[in-house]
Point group: C2
Chain length 232, copies 2
């Protein structure tokens, strides 16, 4: 199995890596070896089904993209995701990806073709409703979902990609908005406990301690710009 994703940032590819690692699957993270040109080459390849954007997973004849699609595919094909839970897992994945998009827009509110510094004024405006309205709404929703069925996991009675996606996202948000997240997580203890439960899973813990895991940095979705966080 081959994963194609930008090698210098965790980004959306990290959601796929967490599923691959948690399932204990062997995979070749191609652009980590060959550089970003490998992603560009895959996007331009004309010898198979077209793909639009990374992350891209190649599994035999299949070329899959769209993060929630890949994560659910892996859990169905190589994990123990119950078919009856597929819709609930998928909708959680899609909620998380909506939150990812809104998080990205806090530092790139105007366009992805300009740097953060070039749209900083707009970012300062956009970050306020994100912190005050959207973060509590999304994380409060996850809290309600966990509370509504009283279990350890978001869907059913076992860990699914939905749990991994929420956990990685909460960690990313803690990196980007440490002050806002301390405030919001005071009201979401069940979600915070889920994050601990996920990162203590042996394969994920080993992954996170390894050189394969890319730390959050100044690229991608979760970036720390203190001026976008809650005032001190």
């Amino acid at each position: 199995m081959q994963l194609y994703y930008w090698p210098s940032l965790p980004g959306r590819g990290e959601y796929v890596r967490w599923v691959l690692e948690d399932l204990g699957l062997a995979y070749d993270d191609v652009a980590r070896r060959e550089g970003p040109g490998a992603v560009m080459a895959m996007l331009k390849a004309s010898d198979g089904p077209p793909v639009l954007a990374p992350p891209i997973l190649v599994d035999g004849e299949r070329r899959l993209f769209q993060t929630p699609n890949i994560c659910v595919y892996l859990a169905r094909t190589y994990g123990d995701l119950a078919e009856e839970h597929l819709p609930e897992v998928l909708q959680q994945q899609l909620v998380v990806l909506d939150l990812v998009t809104e998080t990205h827009d806090t530092h790139h509110p105007t366009t992805t073709t300009l740097s953060y510094e070039e749209q900083r004024e707009a970012a300062l405006v956009r970050a306020v409703p994100f912190r005050e309205l959207r973060l509590p709404k999304f994380l409060g929703f996850a809290e309600r979902v966990l509370a509504s069925h009283g279990g350890d996991w978001v869907v059913g009675d076992r860990c699914t990609p939905a749990d991994l996606a929420w956990a990685h996202t909460v960690r990313g948000l803690r990196h980007a908005f440490p002050r806002a997240m301390a405030r919001v997580e005071a009201g979401t203890p069940t979600l915070s406990a889920l994050v601990d439960r996920v990162v203590e899973r042996p394969r994920l813990a080993a992954y996170l301690a390894s050189e394969r895991a890319i730390d959050f940095n100044a690229h991608g979705i979760f970036r720390r710009y203190p001026e976008l966080d809650d005032p001190t």
Copy 2:
């Protein structure tokens, strides 16, 4: 089966309606009868699994949301979607929803809490790369997908929700950007033919001619602001 969606606009709910109608399923479009308060009540309901945003489909005990998730659920449960095609159908649905989000952002580039008129200057800037880069990229991708396997439909050898989603989106884009779409569709004849093939399906043709179908209007995703379209 009950659908909950804002009654005054086609929006994302329309993607679900097309699947329901094409499958010939009976459904209660609740907020069309009762008004938008029915959607609000469902979002606040505490007597079952929490939902975050419309469209929401209630099917027995299930409360599903996230547009691609509902469409795929319906096709798997009540249609003839082949399991082996699920990943490819889902990724097409997700591509279309990305395009929907980008289309919406052309008239609301700054925030959804202000009107178009209040962010018109930013919209004039945002619409240019959308028309010149993004529209050709997305529609060209659909064209390549159709060409890559040479069939009548986006995935496999039968109509799936992916075809319906592309067809509705192309129609919406033609409404919103008639000049840009005339230019772009000159290069995507296979996609244009797919739209014709979809809307000629008997159940969809009957739906589109009925009072159940809501015309594109000044609300929701696909709005006609001539100043955002190609210059004359």
